[in-house]
């Protein structure tokens, strides 16, 4: 149940954010393009009116004087065009014979004048290498001397139109940008809000007691139901596995221990009375091996038990002194060598730790048992004490101890300090397993003049004990 191996894929939020910003970007680009298009149309419309107005004014100024067509181009027409203050102006006055009366001789409308239908139409064109808008006006003359159609062509460069288009587009773009940003921010908030149940579910699952394998019951949106039911399905299976393992260990314990007990009973019943010397020797071997087998069986089952309990039992505040005293009672056989001085020392204040009493007792029993079997010569002391944020159970004996170079090996399974005796070293392994599961540690204190000490350290419980 530890999260260290989780690989981080792209976040849901990131993916949504990317897509939304992509859509917003496309939308903004379309809007800006549209704004450009409309701005250009508007600018053209505005300035085209000036152009047409100027052309009409010029057409109005045509007159027939002394039998010739005369153009007195009004300054006001140019001033009108001059409202687009940076634009160059080209014009041409064409008389009834199609000859240029004044202006730029080579200026033409893109559509030949005779064919133009709409008298007010303005066209795109190029003059002197510059893109221009071209307007024209027609004046029908019915003078006896001069009759027919005279034309005015007026062209203007596009600078003012472009400037206006740019300005309008820029303003629209700023608006679009602001709207896009607002939309983006809104969308992000909405996504955050929408993703909250996922986070809540995560918090719920994360905040769960690791031993709690009951189904998750948190209200989630419909979309998350498959996810929740998957979690629950998975938890159900895990729970089954745990139950199965538990049953297996329980069965194994009973099924192995019972015949083993029967075996020791038979040995006990057999007695040594009727045996000769060699027979007694064999009988003693059988007895030794049987007790070794018993011990090993107990340790293996105990090991399985503490490992299982570490994953499934909820820790609660317990008095370390009570647990240690109980372990001390269990571990010291009544039949122990009476010459050994055995004592138990506890502080007046009862230190509490957050733990599993059964596992901790098992750990302490194993440490004491180990000391009795392999360490103690004349003296064994069990002490409980607390210091700072830690509580300690110390088991000190006056035996030779374990040399520091073997400490690491001592806590490994089936490592033994005295291999020739054939005893298994599961004791320390169990103790260490339990210590680790409680956030503590198993350590050794080198032998001094008093003795060798095995120390089980556990973090003190800070809360209020029940």
């Amino acid at each position: 149940m530890r999260p260290e191996a989780l690989q981080h894929g792209p976040s849901l939020f990131g993916r949504l954010a990317r897509r939304i910003s992509f859509v917003l970007f496309i939308g903004a680009a379309l809007l800006v393009s549209a704004a450009w298009y409309y701005a250009e149309t508007a600018a053209n419309k505005a300035y085209d009116r000036l152009l047409v107005g100027a052309a009409l004014q010029m057409a109005e100024s045509l007159s027939v004087e002394d039998g010739t067509l005369t153009a007195r181009l009004p300054t006001s027409a140019f001033e009108l065009l001059g409202l687009a203050d940076r634009d160059r102006i080209f014009y041409r006055v064409v008389d009834t014979h199609g000859q240029t009366l004044t202006g730029y001789d080579d200026l033409k409308t893109p559509t030949p004048l005779e064919r133009v239908q709409d008298p007010l139409s303005v066209e795109e064109g190029v003059y002197k290498g510059e893109p221009v808008r071209i307007a024209h006006a027609t004046r029908i003359l019915a003078d006896p001397a001069v009759s027919g159609r005279a034309y005015i062509i007026v062209a203007q460069t596009n600078e003012a139109r472009l400037a206006l288009t740019r300005e309008l587009t820029l303003r629209a773009t700023i608006l679009v940008l602001i709207m896009s940003l607002l939309a983006f921010a809104g969308a992000m908030l909405a996504i955050r809000y929408a993703l909250q149940p996922v986070e809540q579910l995560g918090t719920e699952v994360r905040g769960r007691d690791p031993h709690d394998l009951t189904p998750v019951t948190v209200d989630v949106p419909r979309e998350l139901d498959p996810f929740v039911s998957s979690i629950n399905h998975f938890m159900g299976r895990l729970n089954e596995r745990v139950d199965l393992l538990q049953r297996f260990i329980a069965d194994a314990a009973h099924q192995i221990r019972t015949p083993l007990t029967a075996l020791t009973a038979q040995i006990d019943l057999l007695g040594t009375g009727k045996l000769d010397k060699a027979g007694r020797q064999h009988f003693n071997r059988v007895k030794e091996r049987t007790s070794e087998l018993s011990r090993l069986t107990n340790q293996l089952l105990s090991h399985a038990m503490v490992i299982h309990r570490a994953d499934s039992i909820q820790l609660e505040p317990i008095s370390l002194v009570d647990v240690a005293r109980r372990a001390y009672r269990v571990a010291i056989p009544v039949t122990v060598d009476p010459d050994i001085v055995i004592s138990f020392e506890a502080p007046d204040d009862r230190p509490f730790v957050l733990g599993d009493a059964v596992s901790l007792r098992e750990a302490i029993v194993n440490v004491i048992d180990n000391a009795l079997r392999h360490g103690t010569d004349q003296r064994l002391e069990v002490r409980v004490r607390a210091s700072g944020t830690q509580a300690f159970v110390e088991v000190e004996d006056d035996g030779p101890g374990i040399p520091p170079e073997s400490w690491e090996k001592a806590t490994q399974r089936f490592a033994t300090s005295k291999s020739h005796e054939g005893s298994s070293g599961l004791g320390f392994a169990i103790a260490q397993e339990v210590a680790n599961a409680h956030g503590g540690s198993l350590s050794f204190r080198a032998r001094d003049e008093k003795g060798f000490t095995v120390v089980l350290s556990l973090p003190l419980y800070k809360g209020v004990a029940k």
Binding site: R257, T261, T290, T335, V341
Partner: protein
Amino acid sequence: MRILLVEDTHDVGEAIARRFEATGHAVDWETNGRDAAEIIDFTEYALIILDVMLPGMDGFEILKRIRKSGNAVPVLILTARSEIDDRVGALDLGADDYLVKPFDFRELEARARVLMRRHTGGEATNLIKCGDIAVDRGTRSVHVGKREVQLKRRELTLLEVLVARPGRVFSKDELLDQIFGFDEAANANAIELYIGRLRKKLEGAKAHIVTVRGLGYQLVPGDAP
């Protein structure tokens, strides 16, 4: 004394029964939990040795029934179970002691003896002190300062005699009578052995045993010389 043994494994039951009968106890042996529970209701025992996995009714159930009915008989549980998912141990249910199978038969016998004696001499807390040595005659435990020291039965009896009258000199004969009774054959050397062990176990206490040459032993408060 009368002992009830509830054990469904035949050879285990037989071995236990034999061992206790050999030391002069009467053993009733039941293999069915329900039957055993009924017998307990109307028979008085000095000790009940109870297996956990039983046909009919399991050991814990029987134990709960005993304690519920106010019966204080000492109960020693024998268990082959793993405590893999136990929330409460046998001791929490009111057992006086328990042994995990397979066990050493001598250990079973010894623990049973402790339980029977504690029950018969079962007075309330009875604390006697000398210096920082405290002897609780109820729980039969000994403290030197904060340290609880494990004493054997006869060492404890010897210490009780000495602590009861600090400063008084007890002769070897007197102590022999107190510790072994009149029926047991023991010589004065045994007293010296126990005195030696006791001194070792009380090392560091603020009271010590003084040998009064030719007269006997006395317990004197204060540090050892």
